[in-house]
Structure formats: C-alpha cells, structure tokens
Symmetry: C2
Subunit: 221 residues, 2 copies
C-alpha cells in the first residue's frame, strides 16, 4: 500500500502507520495539460501535493486578465494550502502546466499531520519560505523592463527543465507578465544575438549567463 504517498519527499519523515491511515482519505489524481486542479474563490477543501508535472498558480487581475503568480514544481510540492489555515477560499487557481499527477489530501487530515507530527510543520514552513522569497523577487522584478522579466522566467524554467524548456511564447508571456507579441519580439532579439534558439513550443538556452547578467545588471547605490 501507501504506493503513492511514500513517493512524496515531504512525507518521508511520516511514520508508515500514519501514511496507511492517510491513504484511505487521500487520492491520487491525474490531470492533462490545461486542466484545473482548483479554482480561485471556491471553498478550499483540499491540499494538493504535486508528484509529477508542473502547476501554474493563476490569479485574475481586477480587469480580468489572468496572471501566473507562481509555478509549483514537484520539489515545491504544495499548493492549495489555503485549505489548512482556516481560509475559506482559494486565492488563486491551479492549472496543470504539463500533464500532472497530484495527491489530494483533505484539509482536516493535513492539519492533523501539522499538529502531531513533530518537525512536519517546520518542513512546510521551509517550503513556504522559499516560495515567499520567489514571490518577493517577482515583485521587485515587476517594475523591471520586460526583457529582464523574461530572462528571469526562462532561468526559473531552466532550473526545473534543464536547458531546453517546453513552453510557448504564450505561456512564457504569462509568467513574465507581458503579452505574447512582446515575448516573441524580445526573444527574437535574443535569438539574433545567439543567446537562445527556439522552435514550436520549446526554447533552448544557449548562453544562460547572458540572461543572468541581465538580472545582475546595475548593482547601484
């Protein structure tokens, strides 16, 4: 048993008996690219642990255009955490960015783990903290020129996918908070400079150092 729970790194310190108990309420689910795990505004009933694949957290702006506020990878495991801390609704939607398998855990069960598995809450805190650091970075970048935001998005993608990342300009532009036309324009310029190459739905980073240099640019004052 506990076939799928045991594979989740976050659970490695949980006792086997405990995992067995979880097994009865947890549920393994598969999503195809583009499908929705949960929706912004709906009651937060479950926590999701990403096992394979890749999930965008998307939030609507006041004018209705969706913005990708974060990308959850298998290492970053967690989403839908609103369910645990007494929030009644998810504050963002989760959309499968690739084919994804995820474990759904009812919020009560997850809360119980937090309460009585020593050390578990700290691990969750650490995850949350790195995510927060990323969000803080994203905010400070939000005012930077689009080229830098795209470079940042590409580098984060590279960190999980390697030098060739499967992504369209459309998706990339969402992550960078811009429009696909702009993304194409700027990436075309990068191609001309030999920093990257790209074809339908994939981009390959040839000179990531150049991208990183954009982000370190002016360490002024």
């Amino acid at each position: 048993m506990k076939s799928f729970l045991i594979r989740i790194p976050l659970f490695r310190a949980i006792s086997p008996t405990r995992l067995d108990a979880l097994e009865t309420s947890a549920e393994l689910r598969r999503f195809r690219k583009g499908e929705i795990l949960f929706k912004e505004g709906l009651p937060a009933e479950s926590v999701w642990l990403i096992q394979r694949g890749w999930v965008y957290l998307v939030k609507r702006t006041p004018q209705g255009t969706p913005v990708t506020i974060f990308t959850v990878t298998p290492e970053e495991v967690l989403c839908g955490f609103s369910a645990v801390v007494g929030q009644s609704a998810y504050y963002a939607s989760a959309v499968a960015a690739t084919d994804t398998t995820a474990v759904r855990v009812p919020h009560a069960d997850f809360a119980r783990l937090l309460r009585d598995q020593p050390g578990f809450a700290e691990e969750v805190l650490a995850i949350y903290h790195t995510r927060m650091r990323h969000l803080a970075e994203a905010i400070s970048l939000a005012q930077a020129p689009v080229e830098q935001r795209l470079a940042y998005a590409l580098l984060r993608l590279r960190a999980t996918f390697g030098k060739t990342v499967p992504i369209t300009h459309h998706e990339l532009s969402h992550m960078a908070g811009t429009r696909w036309e702009t993304s194409i324009r700027i990436l075309s310029a990068m191609k001309r400079k030999g920093w990257i190459i790209s074809s339908r739905g994939k981009m390959t980073l040839l000179l990531p150092r150049k991208l990183r240099a954009l982000l370190d640019a002016h360490p002024a004052g």
Copy 2:
C-alpha cells in the same frame, strides 16, 4: 519579568517558564523612523517580532531602485524569518516606517520554539499564509494601472491606520511601485473628485468605497 515578551500575541500560548528562558536571549529594541532593522544580503541571525510601529520590507531591483515588497504591522508580527529556515541571508531589508519597537530573537531560540511548542508552528504558518496571499495580490496587481495600485496601497494603509494615514507621497509611491510625481498627479485627481484630502505627510480617505470600486472594476471572463 518577561515584560515585553508577554505582550506579543504570537507568544500568548507559550508557557511562562519558557518565556522566562527566552527573556535572557531576546532583546527589546527601539528604532526611529527610517532606521534599519536588518539588511538584505547580510547573514540572517535573528527573527524580529514587531511590537509597536510599522516596518517596510524593501528589496533592491536589478537596477538598484528599492521596492517595498511588504509592510509588516504589529498584527503581522514577524520578519527576518530567513534566519529560521536555514537561509544564510536576508532576502530583503527591513526599514522602520514609523518609530518602532521590536523584539529580536536569536534564530536558534525561535527554531526551538517551533520544534517543541505544539501549535506554535501552525500559528506561524498562518501568518505566513496571509502574507503570501497579500504578495500574490500584489503580483497580480503589478500589471494594473498605477491608479489601482495606489488605491490598493491606500486601502491597506487604512486597514492599519484608520481613515487618516500618516504617509508621504514618496513613501506611498514606493508601496505602489511608482514615482512620487505620478503619485501626486493621480492623488491630486482623486482630491479634485473629492475622494480624499491630504496635507503634508498625511492623507485622509473620504470615500474609500470609490477606491475599492477601482479594484473590483472589470470582473470579466
């Protein structure tokens, strides 16, 4: 004793003996407006609990202009949390926005609380979660027009200060990620419409509903 620790809401569930022990290593410190609690990039050695006053978390962009990524109020208590989760450096600076009193707790002591005070980690998690929600909101707003970002900043200020908020255009513009000239221009327009009034260093929100309406604007799609 434990004079200052006992006043911190986050510690209300900690046993008195434990607080006594903390007292020996914790330290109460006062900062005048503009002084720095800790600096981005420096080794993260302490967690800070805000008791009175108001702290900006500020991060530098690649081009060196500082951006306020978050504002810590006494209810939101915590900052400098990098110290606890094994991060070696603070990812942002903390600047006193008003005269502030804060408690410095060495990271080891705070980590110990997390480990062996049942329920404490969950409380911290909840704080972190609401902060995350705010950051997510800020990110989704980052692409909205400046007028909306200013409205959002004003409303958040109102939530902690009441209808009259002590802030300059300069500070406000930082929170909204824009320039003070723009802030003045847009707030002047709001004044002409009778939504707010302002004088040197303070602004009064007469019609907060109008501001909120800006943020609910187009619930499209």
